[in-house]
Chain length 195, copies 2
DNA sequence: GTCTATAGGCAGATAGAC
DNA sequence: GTCTATCTGCCTATAGAC
């Protein structure tokens, strides 16, 4: 076993996920092919099947990695920020980061294609939203307790609204090719909780 | 030319649009085929090409009809309701109607696939959102003037937020198969403007 | 791990008869 | 308007050599 003191550089499987992730976020799961990945990767489609038996498995791996990273970022926010307001600001920032290069949230675009996805991918998509919901409710509950947030209605309802607004803002902003629409919506959403 | 005193029943082209519209709203534009429509319609795919030369033309016709009907509904609301609050309530109601049978807003799901659409379809999608935006700004401006709505920030920003929230709420609610999530988000959104 | 070769299916589309 | 027949292209996937 070789000693690798420097950070391990990504193998083929990882680079495949990077490429596929970008393609799904741009076009959707059903609108890219193994050939697209193979071309960018410089190998054949047959080789791809060595790393991921089928497209369904690749898709599931995509969601798993995306969710893992996203939840890690939520944990980081929880650790770095103490103020509920700052947490929400950082949360919206995660979405703004995703929107770079006209990308849509991976699970957002998969939600649009939900009816065409294999079962394991479906479960992974709803799991992503469930975890987001849980995290937000905790933050909102905190902000409600210490009166740093102005909350009307239930925290559950508000958490849903926040997720919906951010996902919808990405969805609608993308055709216009400028993040300004997303940013103004985000500003309004957060502003309505702070005033 | 035959006299047709009773309402003309839909021809093949119209029924084709009905079927295609449902399929797009459920699966997306790239996830259904001429064969799907032909099967439901009881004719062959070759016959479909008589009514719509290609899928791009069919897609454009779908958006055109959908937009026409949606804008007609907005005009109807404008005519029936005088209160800005009631107009917004009715506007959200339109979205709730769309969500029936797990359907997504046609232009919302096309926004997700935007990068893969032919140019004419792209223009038609943004036109739909532009018209929604214009209508909402007018309603919000009215509500601001007569103090029936509590508006923070610009009406433009708020209009974007409303569209984003409703589109996002549909997107996220669909995987869960119950309109409850959509409805609670709608309630919260409208509530934040009325209080 | 990656290749060549190839299978088998389905997609959108066209020609031409009726 | 609708049909049969057919084309071409792309897709996912597999077998088997290296």
């Amino acid at each position: 076993m070789p000693v690798t003191p420097t950070k391990k550089e990504p193998g083929t499987a990882e680079r495949c996920l990077d490429i596929a992730e970008r393609l799904v976020q741009l076009r959707g799961f059903n609108n890219f092919s193994y050939a697209d990945i193979a071309r960018e990767l410089g190998i054949t489609t047959a080789s791809l099947h060595y790393h991921f038996p089928g497209k369904a498995e690749l898709g599931h791996a995509l969601i798993a990695r995306y969710t893992e990273r996203f939840l890690a970022a939520l944990g980081y926010i929880e650790h770095e920020q103490s103020d509920a307001n700052a947490k929400l600001e950082a949360y919206a920032g995660l979405y703004a980061d995703v929107l770079r290069d006209q990308r849509m949230c991976l699970c957002g675009i998969l939600a649009a294609e939900y009816q065409t996805l294999p079962e394991p991918m479906r479960a992974a998509v709803t799991h992503f939203f469930d975890e987001n919901q849980k995290w937000l409710v905790a933050v909102l509950t905190q902000g409600q307790a210490d009166h740093t947030l102005r909350i009307t209605g239930s925290t559950d309802e508000l958490a849903h609204t926040i997720i919906s607004t951010l996902e919808g803002a990405m969805l609608v902003a993308r055709p216009y090719g400028e993040p300004a629409i997303f940013n103004s919506t985000t500003r309004h959403l957060l502003g309505s909780l702070t005033n």
